[in-house]
Structure formats: structure tokens, C-alpha cells
Symmetry: C2
Subunit: 395 residues, 2 copies
């Protein structure tokens, strides 16, 4: 049979990262590609204890159907956890919706807001998973160049002035994927004001916010949200475990109500065991101590990467702005180097890296960056991988 | 802010069932509304043992990011399990894709196949979750009246002749929700031939297939699929546990490849702990013995319901065709009775039931049925609920 696939699915392809990940699975490879938490990052004992407890004491609750919006217990635990970090984010429990990972939060936000042909504004480069999610609604993406302190506001406003049907601005304000850049407080306020002026919903995706290992916390855009135009997407993937697929959305209850309906007809509800792991971890374990441990862990890893670069990159081939948190180092390579050739050369030396254009809204636009992940490899692998990268480079 | 929600989300509302479920949560209620497995149906000890094993022996695998298509181990386990039940369903592992419950299998199949304005053919009445999923792609649904042995083939062919852009025929051939009817082997062949002739993809949703407590197994439509036009959707919700949200899709690999891409940008992957529970239950426990236990359990429950109806429905107010499996009894009430009034009257007596029109493609069309679920209440609740239902009915 000749399949007549939908226009939307034909507009996206599997992510380049996934392809590189698959190709670099052999054991001799050192990979700077994934965005996985470090092996040491998982609170294994606590999760084991929670699972054992619930499957002994309350198994039916963990195994039976549950409600689309997430369990009440996890809802309350999220409210307390988020409020302890930022006081004014949540007024009411109705503003919280549990989702099957932050990716679903983005997807369902798009589903309830976007008609075909609408425009979405994003940082450029941006998280590839969000870009493709928006493409799957047959929408058009307008990329705003990313600067060290957030998007270029002039270009953002120009888009808002010249394009009708812009519905969403998508941003990762903390330690952005792929650049590691953090949007300054001034720009957060300016972004909020612009979106307020033009009636645009902001999706504030914050998977890495807790992983700040330097500098001071910057209030979220959601904390400025007097008008209810921000959908804040939080995740337990980086602070508890990604395999359990639990995240959450915080938004005006009119929005969470719609997202709840969309969720019911997407996957009915989020897996309950994962929800209980998050709830009990938040309420019976020391989440702040655990996050402090993660911050030390990733600070240690980025330091290992910086040291390796300082040692082996004798000609200052790579340049970068050191991020204050997160999982990525966004490195510029000299303009005269072909980025695909460079990545290929690394691949031939069993080093896997992602070319920056994989994150661009237009993959064919000029690109002189690579993204290096420092959370997944061990410190030894970081050292060896960077050393190999600079051995016998023929430029 | 005035939200400008998408057309698609405005076309659906939360399911009526969900509203009735919420309203009937008080302890005095006896509910025939849910489609939950019975409390006794869960293999709790096995699940506890599996979780303990994996979180002790292989925790990182269970907690780290995984692949969109599902773990290789679960893929192989599904292949063996399905093949043991029907030999010719799966040729290659590429034809299997793990999803976050059957609901997601339906949703992602719709996503990769449907453009806005396309038509979907369904049984009428049908599973409300599928109907709303299709509506969320801005498609139009054509309902084919459901008969005791499957859809009316003349009406089906007439639709196929007169409507362009019919892309999908959606069917639950075994113990359908809500009717409990099973499509005969003759009709399965006729349906396949019709869809083959008109180039329509069949979504064969089989959540209840294993729960046959009477009669003989009927080969799936997928087993007839020489041309690769059937997407078979299987579920572990009714045979292991729905809270873990694991199901699977079996289809031509060109389709599963597209669904895999759509899945990556919906929820990245299915929760891994749930996948490991299913894999290990299939490979290290006696799934056939467990299914035989479930068949006895639900046979016992439908018998309790039949006995209660025989005892308390002295005037033969309800009439039904006894299903050979599944979870539902689809009862006709006399034509002169207003169905909403009847459901309301039951509700006032703390009995929750779903009016049949909730499952119709046109909720406003004439309706003389109610759906009674017999899996969720205990045998005592079944007896008491049916007794109450017929007490002091003022007709």
C-alpha cells in the first residue's frame, strides 16, 4: 500500500541528534551528544524505597487508572516545591497540571493554542524537540537570534509588528539548550512587556533551572505574570530521573483546563508510579540537598571540560561563554572551518558532537558552533575526548 | 488575558464519563461507569518483585532516558507474546512500537495520517476517547451503525463510495466499548476487503481481546493484512495494569517509523519502569495463567450482574446481548423512557451509569441504551446497585 501520510508528519524528520546518538553507540565512542543526567545523579536508594513502600502499602493506587490532571498528592507537592523556590508562581492548585515529561507540556500547550498556519516565535538556535513539536502543528517558526543575555529584542519586536497570527513565544531562559545562555532579568521583563503588548502567550521551558552552579537565581518570567500569559513548564527529568517521564505545567486555570482535556485524549494520564516517586521524593526526601549535590556534580564536570580544553586546545580553536548552569558548552570554532567536516573528523576519531545547525530554525543558515554536553560522559571520558579532538587536527 | 484557543481544542469537551465519575466519587455511590480492571486483577507481587529487582540490579537503565520506539527487550517480549497468540501478526521487530498506553497509539496513528478536513469512519457508538482524539485533528467522523456482529457493511461501503478523503476506519472488533459486541470473522474479512479496495487504513484497537470468557477466539483483522493497511493497537492496561501506561502498535514499518518520529516530539519515550514491568511480566511470569485468572474473574462478575438483573428486573426493563468477553453490558431500556431522566434517577439513588448517547458520534441522535461496567464494582456492589436501580422506579 502507498501510504498517504499527513502533511505535518512529512514536515519533520527524526532529530539529527538521535541519528548521531545511534551511530555513536559503539563502546569505543566518547559522546558529547546526549543531554542525559550523569550516572551519579540518580537518587536510586530513595526511588527504590518509595517503590517498595507504595507497592506494599498502596499498590492499587499505583497501578489503577488515575486522573488526567495528575494526582492530587503530586499537585500539592509541586505547589509546595515550586513555591519554596519562587513565592508568587502559583495561586491555586488548578494552575498546575502534571504531564508525561516537559516535552508533553510543550506539545499540549501547542495543541490547545495553535491553528495551522500560525506563527511561533523562538530563540534561534533553540531546543530541537520544541521546534519539531511546533512544526507538527503545521505552523511557521520565526527564529530570533540568541544573544548572551537572551533574544535580540529589536528583531523580536519587529516580528511582532510585521506578522499577524503569532501565538506563542517559546523560551528556555535558564542555561538554554543549546547555548547555555541565560536571559537577563532586564530582558525577561522586556520580553514579558512585549508579549503583553501584542497578546502573545509565552511558553517558559525551565528544565535546567535548578542546575545553577554559579551566579544568582534570576526570577522566572512566570513570576512577572500579572495577566496570565505565561505557561511555565517544569521537569523532574534533570533533578530526579528522566526515565519516569514526569513534568508539570503552571498556567492560568483556563489554560490548564484545556491542556487537561488535550491530555485525556493523548495518553489519558501520566504513569502513576512515576508520579508517586516524584511526590514522595519531594515530600519525604531532602530535595534541596539532592539539588545541591547535582550542582556540585555538574560544576565539577564543566570544570573538567574547561580544564581539558585549556590543556589540549593549544591554538584557542574553541571559544565559549561559560554557562552558569545546565548541561551544555556552546563552542565557537573558527569561521573558516566547515562545521560538518569538523564533526565528521571528530566522528572518525570516535568522538561524537552535535553541529550547531541542528538547533537552528533554518538548518541551512551559516553556523560556526558545536554543542558539547558535559553531564553524560565521565570526567575521564571528558579529558580523553577533548584530547582526542585536538590530536592531529588537519586544518 | 483573553485566550485565543485553537479550533481543535474548542471542538471537544471533557468526556461525559469523566464528569459522572467525578460527581459519583462519594463513598455511598455504586458506580457502573468506569472501565477499570477489578481490584483483584493486578499481579501486585510480581510487579513489586520486578521493580525491586530492576532498581537493585539495573537502576540506571530504569531511570535514564531511553529510545522513542521502546526498549529492545520489551519489543522482543511483545513479539513473542503476540506471536504465541496469533502467529502471523508480526514479521519483523521494526513493526512494533511501544506507546504510552493504547490511547497514545490511536493519537499518534491519527497524527501521522490525518490532515484537517479528512474523514474518519468509526463504529457508532464507539470508544469516546478515540472519537475525541480524531476530533482534535479537526477531522470529521462518519459513524457506521454497530450491529451485533460488527458494523453495517452496506452503510460502510456507501460512505466509502460517496466521501473522498476518508483516511481511517477505526474499530474495536473484540467486546467493543461500549456495546460489548464482537465483529464476526466474516465481517472482519469483508471490512478488510472494503478498506483494501478503497485504500483506507484500519486502526484495529484491541484492549479487551485477551478478556474472552466465552466462545472461540476470532483471528484479528491484522492477521488478514497482506497489504500492510492495518495498525493494530494492543494494551497492557487490562492484563497487567493501566497505571503504568504501556501499550503497543503493530503496523508496517513505514508507519511505525513515522509514529516513532511523532512520539519523539510528543513525550520522547514511554516511561521505562512501566516498560520493564511489562517485559519482565511477559518473560518471567506466567502471563497465560494470569489471563486465565482474569477471564474467570470477569466471567464471575458478569454472571453476578446477570443474576442480579434476572432477580430484580422483574418487568424485563433491561434487555441485552450477552458479550463473550470484555468489561461492559450494553443494555437497552424501553423506547418510551427518556434516557437522561433514567440516568438522573439512578444518580439520585447513588447509582452511576453512563447514558449510551455519550458514545454516539452524534450525541443528540436517538438513544435507548445504557452502558453498565461490571469489572470495577465488587460482586456485592453489583448486586446492591442493580437492586437499588429497580427499587421504586417510577415509569
Amino acid at each position: 500500500m502507498e501510504y498517504n501520510f499527513s502533511d505535518k508528519i512529512q514536515s519533520v524528520k527524526p532529530s539529527a541528534i538521535k541519528e548521531i546518538l545511534k551511530a555513536s553507540k559503539k563502546s569505543e565512542f566518547i559522546s558529547f551528544v546526549a543531554a542525559n543526567p550523569a550516572q551519579e545523579a540518580f537518587p536510586i536508594d530513595e526511588i527504590e524505597r518509595i517503590c517498595q513502600w507504595v507497592l506494599t502499602e498502596n499498590p492499587i493506587t499505583a497501578l489503577q487508572y488515575s486522573v488526567s490532571e495528575g494526582t492530587k498528592h503530586l499537585n500539592y507537592a509541586i505547589k509546595d516545591y515550586v513555591t519554596a523556590r519562587e513565592q508568587n508562581l502559583i495561586k491555586d492548585s488548578d494552575e498546575i497540571l502534571v504531564v508525561s515529561g516537559a516535552q508533553q507540556g510543550i506539545d499540549l500547550s501547542a495543541k490547545v493554542l495553535l491553528n495551522e498556519g500560525d506563527y511561533v516565535l523562538t530563540e534561534d538556535p533553540s531546543y530541537i524537540g520544541a521546534l519539531n513539536t511546533f512544526r507538527l502543528y503545521n505552523t511557521k517558526i520565526l527564529g530570533i537570534p540568541m544573544q548572551q543575555d537572551g533574544v535580540d529584542l529589536d528583531i523580536m519586536e519587529n516580528y511582532l509588528k510585521t506578522h499577524k497570527n503569532i501565538k506563542i513565544f517559546y523560551t528556555v531562559p535558564n542555561f538554554q539548550n543549546p547555548t547555555g545562555y541565560t536571559t537577563s532579568y532586564e530582558k525577561r521583563k522586556a520580553i514579558y512587556n512585549l508579549c503583553q503588548k501584542y497578546g502573545i502567550v509565552i511558553i517558559e521551558d525551565n528544565p535546567y533551572g535548578e542546575l545553577r552552579f554559579e551566579g544568582e537565581h534570576i526570577p522566572s518570567i512566570k513570576s512577572l505574570d500579572t495577566d496570565g500569559l505565561v505557561i511555565y513548564v517544569g521537569s523532574f527529568s534533570k533533578i530526579i530521573a528522566p526515565g519516569i517521564r514526569v513534568g508539570y505545567v503552571i498556567a492560568n486555570k483556563n489554560i490548564t483546563q484545556k491542556i487537561g482535556v488535550a491530555k485525556e485524549f493523548s495518553d489519558i494520564h501520566t504513569n502513576v508510579l512515576g508520579q508517586i516517586i516524584c511526590e514522595k521524593f519531594l515530600t519525604t526526601c531532602n530535595i534541596n540537598l539532592h539539588i545541591a549535590k547535582l550542582q556540585r556534580l555538574y560544576k565539577n564536570k564543566i570544570t573538567a571540560m574547561e580544564n581539558a580544553i585549556a590543556k589540549f586546545d593549544e591554538n584557542n580553536f574553541l571559544s565559549y561563554v561559560k554557562p552558569q548552569g545546565g548541561l551544555f558548552l556552546w563552542c565557537k570554532i573558527p569561521n573558516h572551518i566547515d562545521i560538518s567536516e569538523f564533526c565528521k573528523e571528530c566522528f572518525n576519531k570516535s568522538i561524537a558532537i552535535v553541529p550547531g545547525f541542528a538547533f537552528q530554525t533554518d538548518e541551512k543558515a551559516e553556523c560556526h558552533h558545536i554543542r558539547l554536553n558535559f553531564s553524560t560522559p565521565t570526567n575521564e571520558e571528558i579529558q580523553q575526548g577533548i584530547e582526542k579532538m585536538f590530536k592531529k587536527i588537519e586544518l
